[in-house]
Amino acid sequence: VGERVAIYRSLMVASVRSQLAYPTSFALQCLAQALVQLEDMVVVLVLFSRISAMGGFTLPEVLLIYSLAGISFGLTDMLVGSLDKVGTALTVLGYVLGHLGDLLDARAGPVSVFSGWLLRLMAFVMPGAFVAYYPALAILGKPDPLGLPAILPYCPPLVAVLAAGVAALIWRAGLRHYVGTGS
């Protein structure tokens, strides 16, 4: 085990060193990451300057969901790295899910056409809801405005294990099908 840790350690050190080779670029990358976080928050704040609640959630509650998602992806990126694109996409998904409750208010017009399948897609096909939405509900002790089973807010650890399992299977399948170009 100690040997493996040493390998991972030297890989991490190499990654940091290679990024630091171009200090200007590294500083700008850091700035970009910070701006990404800030930008989403600005969008939430601007929207809330026009409304007082979104799908049954107040501004502090939406910010909680948003920051849980941000912390989750930040930690994930730091620990397993280079998944930043997946992370960004899921942050957005988690954030949007926080507002989907509104769609269930039997909104008149065309929105109801897609609310059903879009909702299920977000909650279960791409498990973005379990990153921040359900943990936030658990923290707030808030009933799910979507009316889904009350046990779901406590399921994220289970979903995390399942998702990791699926990712491992896909990775293995990918390796089996991989043909190097032999450059």
Binding site: A21, Y22, T24, S25, F26, A27, L28, Q29, L31, A32, L35, V36, E39, V42, V43, V46, L47, S49, R50, I51, A53, M54, G55, V92, L93, V96, H99, L100, D102, L103, R107, G109, P110, V111, V113, F114, S115, L118
Partner: protein
């Protein structure tokens, strides 16, 4: 000489038409995000008929036209040209007796043309199937919208050209591209209509060239005010940024050292 640029436009079109899977993947993303952005933005209308001059129809049109234009104006930028600077391939690009900036622009117009028929038309079609979109009401408005999109592509090209020119000075200029990618989306009006921002922030945002890439053509399409002033702002930024690009390129080429190998 003109025939040469026309061929470059066609080459740009055909180059991007080759990657069909990329087109389908990009379209799927644009469409899914279109639905999600509609869901989020429509929550704003919980109790009111219109917000900052947007009714529900104009808001969903804002979303779908925006989703369609993402690939046309490459709102998050690209690094093709800068990579050629880093690899030294730029030396080959500078050899032929044609203007480098004009040649790259011609290729980019071809790319944008293909994006228009593939990545713009499909989200708009799907959006109009599910929502009541506000689109140009007259042939004249459609023409103004077409001109506005062309100017948006020119501004977008000029900004990307300038960003990639930085590669002449910075060996790793990707940090700059990252910052641009983050900033451009919000300032161009991709996340929420710029009119939703407080007044002072709107003034600041419209003082940058970013809204001319997205918000301006969208406003022309959904008829928020007369098209003339919007087109004039776009034209001014396009001329200014393209001219700046020429100046910077001239300086950049003087700094260039290419080692034989």
């Amino acid at each position: 000489v003109l025939a040469c640029y026309l061929r470059l436009i066609r080459a740009g079109f055909r180059r991007y038409a080759t990657y069909r899977q990329a087109v389908i993947a990009g379209l799927a993303t644009n469409v899914v995000f279109g639905f999600m952005r509609c869901a989020v933005l429509l929550t704003v209308f919980a109790g009111s008929a219109s917000v900052a001059g947007y009714d529900t129809s104009r808001t969903v049109s804002f979303v779908w036209i925006g989703q369609g234009l993402i690939a046309v104006v490459l709102i998050w930028g690209n690094a093709d040209f800068g990579q050629r600077v880093c690899s030294g391939d730029i030396g080959i690009d500078l050899l032929p007796p044609i203007d480098l900036q004009a040649a790259l622009l011609a290729e980019d117009l071809g790319r944008a043309g293909f994006a228009l028929v593939s990545r713009f038309s499909v989200p708009l079609l799907i959006g109009s199937m599910f929502f009541d979109l506000t689109l140009p009401a007259s042939a004249l408005r459609w023409a103004a919208f077409g001109l506005s999109v062309l100017l948006a592509v020119l501004v977008s090209f000029a900004i990307r050209f300038l960003l990639n020119l930085v590669a002449f000075w910075l060996l790793d200029w990707r940090g700059l591209l990252s910052v641009h990618a983050v900033v451009a989306g919000v300032l161009a009006g991709l996340a929420i209509p710029i009119a939703f921002f407080p007044g002072w922030a709107q003034a600041v945002i419209w003082a940058t060239p970013f809204p001319t890439m997205l918000q301006a053509p969208i406003d022309v399409a959904i008829g928020r005010g007369p098209a003339g002033p919007l087109l004039a702002i776009q034209l001014a930024w396009a001329v200014l940024l393209l001219a700046t690009g020429r100046l910077v390129l001239a300086r950049a080429v003087r700094t260039l050292v290419i080692q034989g190998g």
